[in-house]
């Protein structure tokens, strides 16, 4: 179905070879080998994806404009085999994670992605909000179906962090860092966040949704006050606008690469790569974990990715859930 839409855009862009630039429904129908009703459905999907298509009963369809960031462009740009094999793009949606969760429950396969230009109810970790203005950023959720118990899902949190950090580093000068477990920072300011959600039995995962929000061309100015001072974007740090379609391609390629490594070699290489982005070891840290606050010196992470904090008495506390702030 999405292939038909890519095809229609190609035909409409080329135009019919005369000045009027209209292609009749009949012509589309016969070139695509589908009914005129199907053509109409594809046109209506394309409009939802950000294409401005005029329909005239006598002349047919004409492409009058298109959003620069849209599902057809993204799909055409992808070089991945699995991640993004199916793209659900929305100019605006409540939350890409909610949509991806629903799609996964209804059986969509591994690698299916949801991507939106804006979110009205973007979700952050621990019930927080993720600011999601239109026209500037990337909000995407990827369906993964690893055959593992739920505790292994935390591995994918680190995997996502590594993949995002790598994609960020590829378009932006300066080394990104990770804040445990999975915020991506540049110069100590947040440029991306990850929300991993899953549906599982007690001992095996049905699917994982890796939700990724990246501040691409946003100005920190656009954010409300409490987060403004701690956030930044790829454009602010690189000094120029970043092409979102290109960035998404880089991001999905990076997720696919690290996911393959994870499936073949396990968590070891993921954690090693993650440690390469982690710079808080030896520094003061404060963690809120299930309503308990732990302060001390960060002693790194253990082999499962749990945060180790040396408390003032010298004991090392192992933390599997929470948010680590500079102490």
């Amino acid at each position: 179905m999405q292939e038909k839409e890519v095809e229609i855009v190609r035909i409409l862009r080329a135009g019919p070879g005369n000045e009027k630039k209209y292609v009749s429904g009949q012509a589309l129908s016969s070139r695509l080998g589908v009914s005129r009703t199907a053509v109409w459905k594809h046109i209506s999907n394309l409009r939802k994806m950000g294409f401005l298509i005029e329909a005239s009963p006598s002349k047919g369809y004409s492409l009058k404009g298109e959003a620069s960031f849209n599902g057809v462009e993204i799909r055409s740009a992808l070089t991945t085999g699995t991640i993004g094999k199916k793209v659900f793009f929305y100019p605006s949606i409540d939350s890409t994670n909610i949509k991806a969760f629903e799609l996964a429950r209804s059986g969509e396969p591994e690698g299916t992605v949801v991507i939106a230009d804006a979110q009205s109810n973007g979700k952050g970790r621990i019930g927080r909000r993720w600011e999601s203005p239109p026209g500037v950023n990337v909000y995407t959720s990827i369906i993964l179906r690893p055959d593992c118990p739920p505790q292994a899902a935390q591995n994918l949190t680190f995997l996502s962090a590594v993949a995002v950090a790598e994609a960020v580093g590829a378009v932006c000068p300066g080394r990104p860092t990770v804040k445990w477990p999975n915020d991506i920072l540049i110069d100590s300011r947040k440029v991306a966040g990850i929300l991993l959600e899953m549906d599982s039995e007690a001992d095996r995962v049905h699917f994982v949704i890796a939700g990724i929000g990246v501040n691409v061309n946003m100005k920190a100015m656009m954010l409300p006050d409490p987060v403004r001072s701690i956030a930044t974007s790829l454009a602010e740090k690189s000094g120029h606008e970043v092409d979102r379609t290109h960035f998404v391609r880089t991001l999905y390629a990076s997720v696919e690469k690290w996911y393959k490594i994870y499936l073949m070699e396990g968590f070891g290489p993921i954690l090693s790569a993650w440690k390469g982005y982690f710079d808080a070891e030896g520094k003061p840290v404060k963690v809120i974990s299930f309503n308990r606050s732990i302060s001390g010196i960060c002693a790194g992470v253990d082999e499962s990715g749990a945060l180790l904090v040396r408390d003032p008495a010298g004991a090392v506390v192992r933390i599997i859930s929470g948010d680590a702030e500079r102490g």
Copy 2:
């Protein structure tokens, strides 16, 4: 809303004091303090719950019959504080776990239960089917919202097994046993199964659905061939029909009791109780875990509930996911 329905049933059962046994919509409306449209909605809900209610434009409503197993009866019978505070009853549904999952995603609180007389697509563990004929058994799913990481959800598997075993033991002679992790057997035949599903972030659970299927009055004869020889029911073992409403009350009370113990004292008392029902230690066992088969002698369970199997070479293998069969 459900209270209004219980109230309507009470009024209709009592009748208006004359032979005709019709109560006018106006009378119901004023006694309940709600609009006549609201009355109509409650009546329509009651019909879905298994009440046969006749409506006459001139005379009003009359209760002509009721299923013996229905949401109003169950709700009236409950003695629990949290579990079953809200009851969603269905004469037939695809799967109580699917419904409870949807309800929990839309915000229904802890303790909300879904219960059905029949399931068209009853779910067992690992994608298996749970046979769910109408009129004889209990199929119920309970929404729990513990504040814990996903690996702790396995604790609730053991908790559910203990609660079900206790409820089974209360109505049925002979000591029930548990098969790791959470089937309930009597005389080595399966009388109940549990499917725990959850929705979580990588490091914290949003909610858990404890799905419980109990063979109450079913005859093993009613089952298809492959499961017939390994299943039984409370009625077959006790020699008489068991009142399902009474059993549900016992079951929810048991779940509530053990859940309170878990929240106050942690997993220790749950695991101790579970071990009291576990009789496979020292016996040959075979486990399929993520496509790997492990055979050996059962060496019990560790403090997290993982199964320990001593393989022929003498090494003890720790298994967190799978199905343990007699070796």
